[in-house]
Amino acid sequence: MALLQTVRLEHLPYSHEIHIALYRDITNASFLQQQLLDGNTNFEYALIDAGVVVSKIHALAAAYRAVSDLLENRLRSRNVHSEIVFSLSPNNNIAESFRRFGITTSTTSLLIIKVSTPSSPASASEVQAHLTSSIEGEQVPFEDSVLAEMTDVPRVKKIYKLNSGGGGGGAKRNGQVNGGIEGLSVNGVGMRNGDERKELENLVLGAMALRGVTN
């Protein structure tokens, strides 16, 4: 099974496929970050610190927003790849979004997204070959269960300002509204954790969707 995933997002043209790779135990983060800072055109990727990614949907939502904005000619940052990183942000501060969500010298878990566009098409095999030769780390499947082990949940809650009763707290009170039946579910604790993660994802998506709206 190929570890690199190629996805056609709903409501985007087939010409704008995205390729996604996930790595852990990265040892050359400084080098990779430097390529972005130098504007090395061989490194046109969204390089995201996987520690602040909640789930696949979270990452795909950022890609969807960035590609949509590209198609509507309303990118706020340099290109569609930097826009993916910016799309993760709950506010309009681009530099801050790179610091929070982008690769840093201390990044060990790295999520990489490459958008193929008609003007610069990229095939899965080309992308995989380049990543294999440039990323020093272990490639792992882009799956929720793998991402879940990397997520720094307190940090995510802090960035998206979800500490005042959000996240799991919200889910708990949700249960109360509806008679608190959730606790009786067959799968017990494991399922509740899954629900909590799903709720965190929903809150994060809402914060991202509201980014930049005024009036």
């Binding site: 409501h11 949907i57 919200g170 509204v177 509806n178 809402g206 709206v213």
Partner: protein
């Protein structure tokens, strides 16, 4: 936005171009579910074919001035999205917000499974009639549903949001998560089961005014009443639970008595 707004829209709504979200491919094309005065509601998918969503589209109104039209649409999309996000954060059961494009006039939110209270209640009442069960006998389930509704509305008001159109069509009953869906889900005993989820925040606003809250309750009371007189008499259960749900709820219940006397619209006198 301005350039688009000034462009004259076609008089015939069929000729107007749908936003790009409708034109790009998806596993299942957006399916029209219902149409209100202001918005069209579609079922579609978000990001992956496996994630259903509701797509609410506010087409431009050809009879409105284009600039005014664009501003109204933008304002309404954003205000609905903001209220939903606030509710979700505070643990009030509403659909999550996925994406929006206020210039194009659409809002994409979580798809809520299940059915609206109005339909479930009608079915329940019909079945009881067929089974010849007298009113007031064995209606613990209905009482329980009323309690859940009162609690949900109370939570909503407690965080400073009023719904603006609280009818039994805007209350969903979502099947409890991962329940065994086969078996006796068809029996009357399950018909009123499920988690209450508030939907359609198109007329919602952020308000702490007792008057606004009381009008929400009044509209809901009338909605239950129009379903069935018995349902109306059980509305006291909604109010009982509501009264317990937040500090200040009792003041709202007092206000409700005034609203009942005069109706939904506030008097222009004095």
């Amino acid at each position: 936005m301005e350039a688009q707004a000034i462009h004259p829209c076609a008089a015939n709504s069929d000729e107007r171009v749908l936003p790009s979200i409708f034109r790009h491919p998806s596993a299942a094309a957006p399916l029209l579910i219902t149409q209100g005065a202001e918005a069209l509601l579609y079922r579609s998918t978000y990001l992956l074919p496996s994630t259903p969503c509701a797509l609410k589209y506010r087409p431009s109104k050809p009879y409105r001035h284009p600039i005014l039209d664009a501003r109204l649409t933008k304002h309404r999309i954003l205000s609905e999205a903001r209220v939903l996000v606030k509710c979700r954060r505070e643990g009030v059961p509403v659909p999550a917000v996925y994406a929006l494009d206020e210039a194009a006039g659409w809002l994409m939110i979580e798809w809520i499974e299940g059915e609206v209270v109005r339909i479930r209640l009608n079915e329940w009442l019909k079945r009881r009639k067929e089974e010849d069960i007298a009113e007031g006998v064995d209606d613990g389930e209905l009482l329980e549903l009323m309690t859940r509704v009162g609690s949900a509305v109370g939570r909503l008001h407690a965080i400073g949001v009023v719904h603006g159109d609280l009818t039994t069509s805007n209350l969903m009953l979502r099947p409890r998560s991962r329940e065994v869906s086969n078996g006796d889900s068809e029996t009357a005993s399950k018909m009123l089961d499920g988690n209450v989820v508030l939907i359609d925040f198109g007329l919602a606003s952020q308000s702490q005014a007792d008057e606004d809250r009381a009008v929400d309750l009044y509209v809901l009371e009338r909605a239950f009443g129009s379903t069935h007189p018995r349902a109306e008499s059980l509305f006291v259960e909604v109010l009982r639970e509501y009264g317990r749900s937040f500090k200040g709820a009792n003041v709202v219940l007092k206000k409700l008595e005034d609203v009942r006397m005069r109706g939904r619209k506030r008097s222009m006198l004095g």
